[in-house]
Symmetry: C2
Subunit: 322 residues, 2 copies
């Protein structure tokens, strides 16, 4: 029978793993064409509203392939449940047999998403960050900012949200995590005070516009992962000096780049891939006054890499038990 | 935590369930547009050869949605492993949370596939079956024929295969199940002796041609489920009086109808859907000398229906325990 690992077991090994290089290697393998990633599977629900995504694929020559299911049901908090959930399945590339079930409840998706944000900032953020702006107050608004600790010494955060109660909780939690947090309901305040911005909402109308952004700003837009969601006005992408996609193929159909393409604000030949920047095949930021955008829609290779690494660690732990 | 059910537990409840009507209701709901079934997800492997399919969807208004993973790795028997494997995941349509994992190892896929064959034969086979022909000697070549017991009193089987050892085992096993089995390596012998034929191979070149088929024959072609696989020469579909797809949308892209469309041997307006025949919206067979074809590529609504019914039975069983 397949190994079934619960969230507690998964969390117990994750802290001991250096997953940043694992995710970076995944992006490079993807860019180099060594990864098979079919189009994302999707189910959309209306009453109550929710979406389920199936991301799956493999790195050629690896022992495993991975299928990941992640759901967002936005009314769940009113039932006392988290809005996001999910699991990952690890199979053998040699036999197709199920090896392990990671009942991570969406945790590994959250983590690999935050790690991608950290990687994007590491390659694209300005040398001197004077403020971290965050648009949104949910789980990624927290995890993305926490993971920036390894990228910049800046601990000043300006957080935008619509709900005063959620903003207050965000401030409380993130101050507990070592940040100085100013909250605002004026989106303009984020761009005025911050040159490293993370957008982490499920918005379907643009929140930030080009006149909100200072020269030298980097934006990681990670909230929009469907064809409908959008956080950045297309004018920001039009103005940007460097537009980076986690997957050029996927961003053609989802997220900010998709919207900007439809509006004619950018063309695909201006869009480079995060793996190209990591590998050094194309430069990231080349001057302090450039505006850079990373559009992260979430690529299955991230799931493949994190699931494989976690299962490896869990199986070694099991082997080490007396 | 989600309920995890192993194959033994699943088998223990399946015998007590009348799943035929459940699958029929699924086909009707599908035809009536009440089912959301996105395109099949697919991973193809070359060394060793294998394919993994992800089928998923839901019936509008049901409490659950289902994601099914099924793999076929054709070199597995040389490793002492079954070639097919898989699992089914049952989630809540209200919250997106994982409810149950059915570690059925492909059994429920095999079963719902055999049930679809039985349903197709019930609506399309000639009134008097004088021989059951089966092309192939694998698990579906067995299960499809066993499930025909409820459709016809005929117990004469002609089985075609390439491998004498496999043919011998097939004969032995199916005679144990109450059939009189003649084996052959001449495909022509199948059509000569039988007017109810099931094709159940992973062939990618046609095996049966139009001149092998007698008037009045029904063929259930269930082996071809990808764009490349093919068991019937397109001339058979051209000649047929009735061509029935389990899913018109899916058969446009996979299986026998896909091949016949590409060759110009049929057009989509000649193809009806199994759910239409079950519902009585279109007639099935209308005379004893018609040739009818059912092209079964496997539709996610079958997985949705069988998984939901099995989880329901398992949860009632659990509740009944002291």
């Amino acid at each position: 029978m397949a190994n079934v690992y619960t969230l507690d077991r998964i969390r117990s090994v994750v802290d001991g793993l250096d997953l940043g290089p694992v995710i970076e290697a995944g992006f490079v393998a993807y860019t180099r064409g060594r990864v098979v990633v079919p189009p994302v599977g999707e189910l959309i629900f209306e009453k109550p509203p929710g979406d389920t995504h199936i991301k799956y694929g493999y790195i050629q020559g690896d022992p495993s392939f991975v299928i990941k299911v992640a759901s967002g049901f936005y009314d769940n908090p009113s039932l006392g449940l988290p809005s996001s959930s999910g699991l990952m399945l690890v199979f053998s590339q040699t036999t197709g047999m199920l090896d392990s079930i990671l009942l991570d409840e969406g945790f590994l998706t959250d983590l690999r998403t935050a790690l991608a944000g950290r990687i994007a900032a590491a390659y694209l953020a300005p040398a001197r960050v004077d403020g971290i702006g965050v648009v949104g107050t949910g789980i990624q608004a927290r995890m993305q900012v926490e993971h920036l600790k390894g990228v910049t010494p800046c601990r000043k955060v300006v957080a935008w949200g619509r709900d005063p109660g959620r903003l207050e909780r965000y401030k409380h939690d993130m101050e507990g995590a070592g940040f100085q947090v100013r909250t605002t309901r004026e989106i303009r305040a984020v761009g005025e005070a911050c040159n490293l911005i993370v957008t982490a909402t499920p918005a379907s109308e643009p929140l930030l516009t080009a006149d909100h952004i200072r020269p030298g700003t980097h934006i990681t837009a990670m909230g929009s992962d469907t064809a409908d969601k959008q956080e950045l006005d297309v004018g920001i992408l039009e103005r940007a000096d460097r537009v980076v996609a986690d997957s050029r193929a996927q961003c053609r159909q989802r997220g900010e780049i998709h919207k900007a393409l439809a509006a004619g604000a950018v063309s695909m030949d201006q869009v480079v891939e995060l793996g190209q920047v990591i590998a050094g095949d194309v430069p990231g930021r080349t001057s302090d006054d450039q505006v850079t955008i990373a559009d992260l829609t979430g690529v299955a290779v991230q799931d493949v890499q994190i699931a494989t690494a976690v299962v490896q660690a869990l199986s070694e732990e099991k082997g080490a038990w007396p």
